[in-house]
């Protein structure tokens, strides 16, 4: 009853409506903030700890020779990928030096060796051939990016699904709040113009 009486006074309904809107805004904010506290946003990922990958192409250009990883057995081919480090806590202790040997398949003796240090960069070795027992190659390097999955579509776990919903909900809540702010402003201006 009191509310209806208040409405007879000019501007009082607007005040009530604004109070209601303020409460609604506050409620949406609280819900969004509370839910956002449990969604992992990948904040403070230390990407410098990413594992480095070394790949090869053009190993077929080596006639009568083969490229060998000094620390492992077997010849290197185009499909081979060397993971320098798998990431994780033991990064500082791990071995980052890669040593490759060019071996003559006839004599089975190394004619060339090269060693490089891999850290923070993925390397791609393009082998163009061999000259006088020396490996001819060029090296491309790209920044090694830590493969962080915020939402993994392949893995249907509850955590990823929940994160996706929370992200979308939070963003939509922000959008609705902006719309409310915009329309309340328009309403207020309109009422002022009428008065």
């Amino acid at each position: 009853m009191q509310n209806f009486e208040n409405c007879r006074r000019p501007g009082s309904c607007l005040t009530n409506r604004n109070n209601l809107s303020a409460k609604l805004l506050l409620l949406i904010c609280c819900i969004s903030l509370a839910t956002s506290a449990i969604a992992d946003a990948g904040f403070s990922i230390r990407r410098k700890h990413a594992a480095c990958i070394i790949s090869f192409s053009g190993t077929g250009n080596l006639k009568n020779y083969k490229l060998v990883n000094a620390y492992r057995d077997g010849a290197i081919n185009d499909e081979e990928t060397i993971y320098v480090q798998e990431g994780g806590k033991r990064w500082e202790e791990s071995d980052r030096d890669i040593k490759l040997l060019l071996v003559d398949t006839a004599t089975n003796k190394a004619t060339d060796s090269l060693q490089f240090h891999a850290k923070d960069y993925n390397l791609h070795m393009k082998i163009s051939g061999e000259q006088n027992g020396k490996l001819q190659y060029s090296m491309d390097s790209t920044k090694a990016v830590y493969d962080y999955l915020l939402l993994n579509d392949d893995e249907k776990s509850d955590q990823f699904r929940r994160n996706r919903i929370l992200f979308i909900t939070c963003s939509v809540a922000g959008f609705i709040l902006l719309l409310l702010l915009f329309f309340l402003r328009k309403k207020k201006t309109g009422d002022q113009n009428t008065n």
Binding site: S36, A37, D40, F43, R46, L151, A173, G174, L177, R185
Partner: protein, 101 residues
């Protein structure tokens, strides 16, 4: 680290830094900063981690969005809104990149 921390830091950048420029509007700049952060931050995180979208587009989009918001919700002055939006979004996106690696 949860999304909440990003939201808080974004609010500090886009809300509190905005406040002195529109001080006459009392609490409204804080509200605008908060709501625009709430809308943009989750979207930015999703785009950054899940897509290969160039962040120049996101950066420009945010500048345009914030300029519109400041003009329509705070004060209809384009020459004030554009530089403020540019500066605040630059600080915010540097913060975003530093924190997201």
């Amino acid at each position: 680290m949860p999304l909440l921390f990003q939201l808080i830091f974004y609010f500090l950048i886009k809300g509190f830094f905005l406040w002195p420029f529109y001080y006459s509007k009392r609490w409204k700049p804080l509200w605008v900063g908060f709501t625009s952060s709430m809308m943009a931050v989750p979207l930015m995180v999703l785009l950054y981690h899940e897509t290969d979208l160039s962040f120049w587009y996101v950066y420009l989009g945010l500048i345009v969005l914030d300029t519109l918001l400041y003009c329509f919700l705070l004060k209809s002055n384009w020459w004030k809104a554009i530089p403020i939006s540019l500066v605040l979004n630059t600080i915010a996106i540097i913060f975003f990149f530093v924190c997201n690696g």
